[in-house]
């Protein structure tokens, strides 16, 4: 077990190192940062050279990368070019809003998808099943910005039940969480249904029923527990994705989260913020995956890590 965890950790670190290289390279691929950053008027050569020097962009690439990784390990991504404050601080400022939306969306997604998926599997090819599949198909194929705008127009403008956007109390959270949740739910639902169908015809379920267990107990304790492995994996990855920020939902609902910060930074060529956001999101994702791996042991005692 310990060796397994150590190996996994090592792999995670390798992934992060790879991402750091990509994040570092990206900002140099999109064009000369100095030219992109200068305001739209004629800049003298001296000014360009001065800016390049002050940003350290005149050093060899490898030196720049080593300095970047070294500083990043200390949480130092430099100052935001646009806002003149520490880049990582800007990212961390957005974490509460993103975490709030991500966890609410995940609650919506799991709360809707798992029961529906189970029901669909139990009533295969019947109305519930068809409805669940239709919901899942629509949920995944409707663009989030479109669904979000429709939700705003209906519940925000026409009915006035919820605010059209922004962050605030619970009422502000409902629409974006529901819209983001529906998208995540679609995938979880399909997976729950398929996994349940896989185990539903297994002998141990027949045995469980034969020994007189109530149907709910059969489903919850035997079927769902055994079907849960891929579902948990999926939810873990989903959480990792959601915590990275949901760009489209955040934009439509004017939610001050990390996804939007990253996109704004990209548009503003604010590469310290882009790098901080990318590496932070990647770290969260890698951590979520790592935790999901560990969950296996708890869920499935057959898995031995040797």
């Amino acid at each position: 077990m310990q060796r397994y965890v150590a190996r996994r950790l090592f792999q995670a670190l390798l992934v992060l190192l790879g991402i750091s290289a990509v994040a570092f390279a990206l900002t140099h691929v999109i064009g000369d940062p100095v030219v992109l950053l200068l305001p739209p008027f004629e800049a003298g050569q001296a000014q360009v050279a001065e800016m390049r020097h002050s940003l350290g962009l005149d050093r060899p690439l490898l030196v720049q990368y080593a300095a970047f990784v070294g500083a990043a390990l200390h949480g130092d991504f430099g100052l935001s070019i646009r806002q003149n404050t520490p880049a990582l601080g800007l990212v961390l400022d957005r974490v509460p809003a993103t975490a709030e939306l991500a966890s609410a969306a995940l609650v919506v997604a799991v709360g809707a998808a798992v029961p529906l998926g189970v029901a669909a599997a139990l009533r295969r090819r019947r109305v519930v099943d068809r409805a669940a599949l239709l919901f899942s198909m629509l949920g995944q194929s409707m663009p989030t910005f479109w669904l979000g705008l429709q939700a705003i127009l209906l519940f925000g403008v026409a009915l006035r039940w919820f605010p059209t956007g922004g962050i605030g109390g619970f009422r502000h959270l409902v629409l974006p969480a529901a819209v983001l949740g529906v998208f995540s739910a679609a995938g979880i639902l399909r997976l729950t249904r398929t996994s349940m169908l896989d185990v539903i015809s297994e002998d141990y379920l027949r045995t469980a029923r034969a020994k007189g267990l109530r149907e709910t107990a059969v489903v919850a304790r035997h079927a769902l527990r055994n079907a849960s492995l891929p579902i948990v994996t999926w939810i873990g990855l989903e959480l990792g994705t959601l915590l990275g920020g949901a760009v489209v939902t955040e934009t439509v609902f004017a939610w001050p989260g990390m996804g939007r910060l990253a996109v704004q930074a990209i548009f503003a060529r604010d590469f310290p913020v882009v790098q901080a956001a990318v590496l932070f999101a990647a770290t969260i994702f890698v951590l979520a995956t790592f935790c999901t791996d560990l969950m296996y042991a708890w869920l499935d005692p057959r898995i031995h890590y040797s």
Binding site: I30, G31, D32, V35, L36, L38, P39, P40, F41, E42, A43, A46, Q47, E50, M51, S54, S80, R82, Q83, N84, T85, L90, D93, R94, F145, G148, L149, I152, L153, G156, V157, R160, P163, T164, G165, G166, I167, T251, V252, F253, A254, P256, G257, R260, L261, Q264, F267, A268, R269
Partner: protein
């Protein structure tokens, strides 16, 4: 240059602006004070340091907190703010007399040292506000309420440029540091900073001690709603009272609601198709004129911009000083276009590259596509290439775009010089040069007297019109959504000024 000199010397006599002695820019509102007004924009300032923030959406916030020396009123006239008047001592020396008894929100007194401090900071090479003091050499405190500004050459645009420079408190800056000021701004303006939830909302409270009279609206909230459709939705729900950059295609959605109105200004963002007059067929004036006749600009504005644009006869929009109202835009005349092309030796047209940004300007991609369609009808096969804005603007700065490309420009100073620079000689953002026109342009840009300067600009435009170094397109209108409970007028220079507004 002699003409310009005389003009300046004529203005040397103490020049106090019309109306300057009259009441200040703002008359204290009679309506009962109170209430909250919420403004939604598509972007928010990166910082509240007035010297760091140079976007229009940013100025809309910072200019509530910081007063500049001068400002434009709703009628477009320049009115005194922290300056009460100016005197042109000699062609390169301006003296500004300052308002007395004004205090910053933290109690610090406003005087000449604050103006010098602000100008000096803008003069730093790495200051984003450097463009506002381009051509300024130095500033000097003459006495506590007089500041002298020296320019390298005569600089007629000094006054309008200073309208975007909010005056900052030097002691506060030096005590707290610029990065603290960026989130804790202190100015002399009608509103004082209250709170800021980044990427969500920024709250300002009325400055009851404002020198121009306390604003009637007690609280102003700036909300950030990046999605244009979501911004209109928030406006329709009544959550926000005022929105900027109203999407033209959504204007009909509020047509039947008496609580909501759409206010339109003639706008200053001019969209044009630039022609590299130094290469290939575009060297021939007849070809360039042919391209102007070939494009149905009215149809483009009507069908793609929903009518929210004005077809222009040159690249100088109506809102600028020096606009020539006597010119009529090139008519849509495909037959004439073909005839001119034939005369120039291209009876079967030619092939050329056409570059366009996608997503930077209102419907830019569709406009480019339509223009390419019209050109094709005239026999010119334009190969349309789209670019992401970051790359595009990089190529623009490096003078790498062309031979045909779409670009937008706007003059914050509302002066034709900023537009005509695009057809002047020897600058990075021009693809045309004509020595005769250049001589007039140089003369105009050194003429301080606005009337004389405007006359020179008006003289230039028929020449540019005839030379057609550009496919002259249109000016985008400014579209605002305004809740009927708010009494507010949009301004042509895009200034969003709430100190005089009232709510029902």
């Amino acid at each position: 240059m002699t003409g310009a000199r005389t003009a300046i010397l004529a203005a040397v006599a103490a020049l106090v602006m019309a109306g300057m002695a009259a009441s200040p820019a703002l008359t204290p509102s009679q309506a009962a004070a109170g209430g909250t007004v919420t403004v939604a924009q598509g972007a928010e300032p990166a910082t509240l340091d007035p010297l760091q923030e140079i976007s229009r959406t940013g100025y809309n916030v910072t200019l509530q907190i910081y007063d500049p020396l001068f400002m434009r009123n709703a009628a477009g006239q320049i009115v005194p703010m922290l300056a009460t008047g100016y005197k042109i001592v000699n062609p390169t020396t301006w003296q500004f007399s300052l308002r007395k008894g004004v205090k910053f929100h933290n109690g610090e007194a406003f005087d000449a040292s604050a103006v010098k401090f602000t100008i000096d900071r803008a003069l730093l090479k790495d200051s984003p506000s450097n463009y506002l003091v381009d051509g300024v050499k130095s500033s000097r405190v003459v006495d506590p309420y007089t500041v002298e500004v020296t320019t390298a050459n005569p600089l007629p645009l000094l006054l309008p440029r200073l309208m975007l420079l909010g005056i900052a408190p030097p002691k506060y800056y030096q005590a707290r540091g610029a990065s603290y000021v960026a989130t804790h701004p202190v100015g002399t303006g009608p509103y004082r900073f209250q709170s800021w939830v980044k990427d969500d909302r920024l709250t300002l409270a009325a400055n009851h001690d404002y020198w121009g009279g306390a604003p009637s609206i007690e609280t102003v909230v700036f909300r950030l709603i990046p999605d244009p459709a979501a911004r209109v939705a928030a406006f329709r729900s009544g959550e926000v009272d005022l929105i900027t950059d109203f999407a033209p295609d959504l204007v009909p959605s509020v047509a039947n609601d008496p609580r909501l109105k759409v206010d339109v200004t003639t706008g200053t963002r001019s969209i044009n198709i630039m022609l590299d007059t130094g290469t290939g067929p575009l060297r021939d004036k007849r070809v360039r004129q042919a391209l102007n006749y070939a494009v149905d600009k009215d149809a483009i504005v009507k069908n793609i911009l929903g009518g929210f644009g004005t077809v222009e006869s040159t690249l100088v929009p109506a809102a600028y000083l020096g606009y020539n109202a006597r010119l009529r835009p090139y008519a849509y005349d495909p037959a004439k276009a073909k005839a001119l092309l034939a005369q120039a030796g291209y009876p079967n047209g030619f092939s050329i590259v056409f570059q366009s940004p996608r997503g930077r300007y209102l419907a830019d991609a569709q406009v480019s596509q339509a223009v390419v369609g019209y050109l094709k009808a005239a026999g010119v096969n334009a190969d349309l290439k789209y670019y992401e804005w970051g790359n595009y603007v990089g190529m623009y700065f490096k003078h790498q775009l062309g031979p045909i490309f779409l670009i937008g420009s706007a003059s914050a100073a509302l002066d034709a010089a900023d537009a005509l620079e695009n057809v002047s000689c020897g600058v990075w953002d021009s693809w045309y040069c004509n020595n005769g026109i250049q001589a007039l342009y140089v003369k105009a840009t050194a003429t301080v007297d606005p009337g004389r300067r405007a006359a020179l600009y008006r003289e230039i435009q028929p020449l540019i019109y005839d030379e057609a170094p550009i496919i002259f397109m249109y000016t985008q209108k400014g579209i605002y959504g305004v809740n009927a409970r708010l009494n507010w007028t949009p301004q042509n220079d895009e200034t969003l000024w709430l100190a005089k507004s009232t709510v029902k």
